[in-house]
């Protein structure tokens, strides 16, 4: 599903954000990506959706090397990946409903399919009563859940979640994790960057740890920190 080989990213300002990271994520896996602040987690996810281009190394999604994509192909790549952005990236002038439906309009979904699906997803994340307000009228955690709703509404093959519980209380976080597990069980591959020790330790899934851009650990069933 997702293969990185010696993936390196050096930003224009000289920062080495990823340093020869190699990893393989199979279809249907659920992977936690952990590491200190600034370790390179978001950068890795940004490379997967081609928001950034790698400095060197290979990254391929679904057997396709995404280093050489035409503009149109980039759009198609992004359509089969759902992303919960660390900073949400909601369209400020669109309501919650419109933000979610936009992702479906983009792929040309029929109008009559859109409405029920959007409401279903908003219900899943507990925001049915906020459907018609603007993001600026939401609390931090609510915005985060809108972003989640948008990410899953198209039932993507791959779901990238960047700190999806950062602004959620423990109870809501667990609800969201149950939702993600459910989605994972239905076949969606999930890569989730997180700092939430409770969740990582609780679920005992595969954990990949980054440290200053280097892959330092890849445990099939592990906790947030190395067992001590």
């Amino acid at each position: 599903m997702l293969i990185a080989k010696k993936l390196t990213k050096i930003f224009n300002n000289g920062v080495l954000a990823l340093n020869e990271v190699s990893l393989t994520v199979d279809k249907g896996e659920f992977v936690f990506l952990v590491g200190a602040s600034g370790a390179g987690k978001s950068t890795f996810l940004n490379l997967v959706i081609r928001q950034e281009v790698p400095t060197s190394g290979v990254i391929s999604v679904n057997q396709q090397n995404i280093a050489y994509l035409k503009k149109k192909e980039i759009a198609y790549l992004r359509r089969c990946i759902g992303v919960i952005f660390q900073d949400y990236k909601l369209l400020p002038q669109k309501t919650v409903y419109e933000n979610v439906s936009f992702a479906m309009e983009v792929i040309g979904t029929k109008a009559k399919v859109i409405k029920p699906r959007v409401y279903t997803v908003l219900e899943l994340v507990g925001l049915l009563n906020k459907a018609h307000v603007l993001p600026s009228e939401l609390s931090g955690g609510q915005q985060q859940r809108v972003c989640l709703a948008r990410a899953i509404v198209n039932r993507p093959l791959l779901l990238l979640a960047d700190e999806p519980t950062g602004n959620l209380d423990p109870d809501t976080s667990w609800e969201i994790m149950d939702l993600l597990s459910e989605i994972n069980k239905r076949g969606t591959t999930i890569v989730m960057a997180t700092h939430n020790r409770e969740i990582v330790d609780g679920l005992q899934k595969r954990v990949i740890a980054l440290d200053r851009g280097r892959l330092v650990r890849d445990t099939p069933k592990g906790g947030y920190a190395l067992e001590t």
Binding site: I49, Q51, K71, K72, A75, Y76, L77, R78, R79, I81, V83, F85, K89, L90, L91, P92, Q93, K94, F102, A103, E105, V106, I107, A111, R150
Partner: protein, 290 residues
């Protein structure tokens, strides 16, 4: 683009305009004012053209014949055939005397048998006439004694008219360019203010076309609305002006009627449409590179 898509894009465009109404109104205002200015100068130029057309008809060359000449009719034909000559009027020595006496307040100047004036022709010119060339050709005709300007200010008028026409067109062209620049860049500012949105749309998997169309339509709508408003102001204002100045119509012939309205409408609306669309197009190019 499927039919449903067009309405989707139009809907998005209208939503965009309404949700960013403060910015939209500001941009529309700028476009209105820019196109108003252009339309104003279009009206002024068109009227100057009209005015100089009328003035051109007033320019006359007077061609005097040698006293001995008898084949006036043949010479008249020759003159008519020259390039740049619009009409030829024969003025006999008697008529010449009458008009001269009129000029001097109807004092009886000459006894009939003593009339010292030569026979003459008055020539009016076409707009494309080249007076220097014409003088050469006319004096080459046998029987022509001398050619003079029928009125003192013919030379002056000729240059003034040419100048006004050329200068008017140049100014209009410059104004058009300036308005193009202003409209396009105003639209650019509105797109610039929303570049983050464009980035987000692309990250969610929108193709360039999908992002572009609503913005393009927004630009076009802004341009057309601005143009429409400018048009309204100009037409009402101009009609009012013509009405107020109707007493001066003799000295100040103003263009009225359908033709000028049509020119104004077509040029402003097409500028609004084209500039607005073009403005969004080129600024989108920059921000679609995400």
């Amino acid at each position: 683009m499927k039919p449903r898509s067009f309405f989707y894009f139009l809907h998005e465009a209208l939503l965009g305009l309404v949700r960013n109404r403060l910015m939209s109104l500001t941009a529309m205002g700028i476009i209105t004012v820019g196109l108003f200015l252009f339309g104003l100068f279009l009206l002024v130029t068109a009227n100057l053209q009209y005015f100089t057309d009328l003035a051109w008809g007033e320019i006359e060359l007077r061609v005097f014949l040698k006293p001995a000449v008898t084949n006036q009719a043949a010479i008249g034909k020759q003159l008519s055939a020259l390039p740049g000559v619009q009409s030829v009027t024969y003025i006999s020595k008697a008529e010449g005397a009458v008009s001269l006496e009129k000029m001097f307040n109807n004092n009886h100047l000459f006894l009939d048998e003593e009339n010292p004036l030569p026979d003459a022709f008055n020539l009016t010119l076409t707009k494309t006439a080249d007076p220097e060339e014409l003088t050469r050709l006319v004096t080459a005709i046998p029987g022509i004694d001398e050619i003079v300007f029928g009125q003192d200010f013919v030379k002056f008028m000729e240059i003034a008219i040419r100048l006004v026409m050329v200068a008017g067109l140049i100014l209009l062209f410059l104004t058009g360019l300036a308005v193009l620049y202003i409209v396009v860049n105003t639209i650019q500012l509105t797109v610039y203010a929303r570049r983050k949105e464009i980035e987000i749309m692309k990250l969610v998997g929108a193709t360039d076309a999908f992002v572009r169309w609503p913005f393009l339509l927004e630009g076009i709508i802004l341009g057309l609305l601005g143009a429409g408003l400018a048009l309204l102001l100009l037409r009402e204002g101009y009609t009012y002006l013509v009405f107020r100045l109707q007493h001066y119509r003799r000295f100040l012939p103003l263009l009225t009627g359908k033709e000028i309205n049509l020119t104004l409408t077509v040029s402003l609306l097409s500028m609004g449409l084209f500039f607005g669309g073009f403005g969004s197009h080129i600024s989108l190019k920059r921000y679609l590179k995400v």
